[in-house]
């Protein structure tokens, strides 16, 4: 396990400070044809003795980090201050995407903090509700609630997309009330959709955890509270909630971790047009720009972000383990 996870991570760190490009040479090709002989100057990749294209790798330090963070933009505009590109890798810097990582991080954090309260509240409300209904209804509600959670994220996001698509079901209903909106066409509505998807997807998890927690609320404490004259609100507030407090912490921590990795809805619902998330950014740089080195830089920054988020979780586990849990 260490080999398969730690090694790639180390390689990612290593790659992020390097850059490789095919080694090119300038050749003069003489073409002879019945219509005369002409010489064409062209570039071609240098082949090694084994017939493969040789590539030049070099240490570039933090160059890609600056690029991903958008700190490089000033240097590019200044022009000559940027070091000449020895490797010959053609790197076009697009100014409008310059602060890619910060934008991705901002949306990821927005997503995280916008979904968390809804997930906790809705999950808890559902758990309370299902806990009130008769035994024979419960399995039905639980099964159906599991569906959004268990579904393949790509498929779930696609299903939501089709629902909100032009001529789809939801825009049709809204148009009945005089609201016409192209959901994927604007930044704010596309973001809202991603957040809605996030809530839809994670509420079942919170629900199941809280529901299980409700089963273990000590009945005698509840009864004691009832005898002491507490009404149902007071019982909820003073007996049930304190009992469930650790679960709230648990769900929040897990959700923070998962929300940080939001990827599929971003890809499906906006295709990165209006908004990106940190995972999407790495994927995009790797698959579209085909640049594992730059992608590594984005990945390393992602790791730094999760490290900050992880501190509370690690501290908690640490304490638990020390207690011997």
């Amino acid at each position: 396990m260490m080999l398969l996870l730690a090694l790639p991570l180390a390689v990612t760190f290593y790659l992020s400070v390097r850059s490789c490009a095919l080694q090119m040479e300038v050749v003069t090709v003489t073409e002879s044809s019945p219509f005369g002989t002409k010489e064409v100057v062209t570039q071609r990749a240098v082949l090694g003795p084994d017939g493969r294209a040789l590539s030049v790798c070099r240490f570039v330090g933090l160059e890609y980090f600056r690029k991903v963070l958008g700190l490089d933009a000033a240097a590019v505009q200044a022009g000559s201050s940027a070091p000449p590109d020895a490797g010959g890798a053609a790197e076009a810097v697009e100014p409008e995407r310059a602060t890619e990582f910060m934008g991705a991080l901002r949306f990821t954090l927005l997503y995280t903090f916008a979904t968390t309260p809804f997930v906790l509240l809705l999950g808890f409300a559902l758990a309370l509700g299902v806990n009130q209904v008769g035994q024979r209804w419960r399995p039905m509600y639980i099964s159906a609630s599991l569906l959004p959670f268990i579904i393949t994220p790509v498929v779930g996001a696609l299903a939501i997309k089709w629902l909100f698509r032009d001529n789809g079901l939801v825009p049709y209903f809204l148009s009945q009330f005089g609201i016409s909106l192209f959901w994927m066409a604007q930044a704010w509505s596309a973001r809202l959709l991603i957040i809605l998807y996030g809530i839809w997807h994670v509420v079942p998890f919170a629900f199941i955890v809280f529901y299980a927690g409700l089963q273990s609320v000590p009945q005698d404490s509840l009864e004691a509270a009832r005898i002491d004259g507490a009404n149902s609100w007071q019982r909820l507030w003073y007996v049930t909630l304190p009992h469930l407090a650790p679960l709230f912490v648990f769900v929040t921590l897990i959700h923070l971790m998962d929300a940080y990795r939001v990827f599929e809805p971003v890809m499906v619902l906006t295709q990165g047009a209006f908004t990106t998330s940190v995972q999407y950014l790495t994927y995009y740089i790797l698959m579209q720009e085909n640049n594992p080195y730059k992608a590594s830089a984005a990945a390393v920054l992602t790791t730094a972000g999760i490290a900050v988020l992880l501190v509370p979780l690690l501290v908690r586990t640490w304490k638990e383990q020390r207690r011997g849990g």
Binding site: T152, W162, Y293
Partner: protein, 276 residues
């Protein structure tokens, strides 16, 4: 006293049914429109009833060869689940019985890796496997999925193993079992529900994965979710409808799973260190 209670319960059911509708609507609607022609699926005003056709499914599964993606999924998930359960059982058992500092650090490391976004590993997988020439192999994809599942599997299995009293091992040892026999003959049978639950979650992780399955293998070896990605930006109408049919096809096994294993999934979710 009787009347308000009944009204209250009715209201509660209404609210819960509302949630049920919200939870299932996207999938149900996708299932409904997957049986239609494009013009009926996205029309203004919305058509509640439309001619039923299986054309989308037959195009997708037969003409487009979606059955190949289905077989790929079977290979990848079966491989991932069996390898990760084998390794996870051994590791989880060891970690639950071993009371040293190393075990603690291993668990902590596993936790860190579990929370790591998968994309952080992707570039190096990409470059390493290219260099070794083993990208685009089922074997590689399974290996990666196992590696990514493993921290999760180990944590979950460990928390099941911890609940099995140590006296059981000792009894087996006293009766003349070797350590391995005790594990194989005594512990695993007791553990079976835990193993099933963990296997279920490890199946879900492998089945639902998109990021790795779509980037580490080429089209002919892609799993179903990766293959369906074409539908994301599909502008052509027939293509879009096949995407809908594909999405529904991916979901059907999951629905069967929920119905069959609801109890195990719930117990897994509440097990503590859960959810990938």
């Amino acid at each position: 006293m009787r009347q308000p209670a009944r009204v209250w319960s009715l209201l509660l059911h209404l609210v819960l049914l509302g949630w049920l509708l919200l939870a299932c609507l996207p999938i149900v609607w996708a299932a409904v429109i997957s049986l239609r022609q494009y013009v009926d699926a996205f029309s203004v005003p919305v058509k509640w009833l439309a001619p039923v056709t299986f054309e989308n499914y037959s195009r997708l599964w037969i003409d487009k060869g979606f059955y190949r993606n289905f077989l790929n999924t079977v290979i990848v998930t079966v491989g991932t689940v069996s390898v990760s359960l084998t390794v996870g059982c051994l590791a989880g058992y060891a970690l639950s019985r071993y009371r040293g500092a190393v075990g603690f650090w291993l668990l902590l490391t596993a936790l860190v890796f579990r929370s790591l976004p998968h994309s952080t590993l992707l570039p190096s997988f990409y470059v390493m496997f290219d260099a070794l020439g083993i990208r685009n192999e089922f074997f590689t994809l399974i290996l990666v999925l196992v590696a990514i599942n493993q921290p999760f599997t180990i944590w979950m299995l460990r928390s099941f193993f911890v609940n099995i009293p140590q006296e059981l091992d000792e009894a087996a040892l006293v009766d003349g079992c070797s350590r391995f026999q005790a594990f194989r003959r005594v512990i695993i049978p007791v553990m079976w529900p835990g193993v099933v639950t963990t296997g279920l979650f490890s199946f879900l992780l492998a089945y639902n994965d998109f990021l790795l399955s779509s980037s580490l293998v080429n089209a002919e070896r892609m799993t179903m979710p990766a293959a369906i990605a074409n539908a994301i930006s599909a502008d052509s109408e027939a293509f879009l409808m096949q995407g809908v049919a594909g999405a529904v096809s991916i979901t059907i096994p999951l629905i069967i799973l929920v119905v069959l294993f609801q109890r195990q999934i719930v117990s897994g979710l509440t097990q503590g260190a859960v959810k990938g």
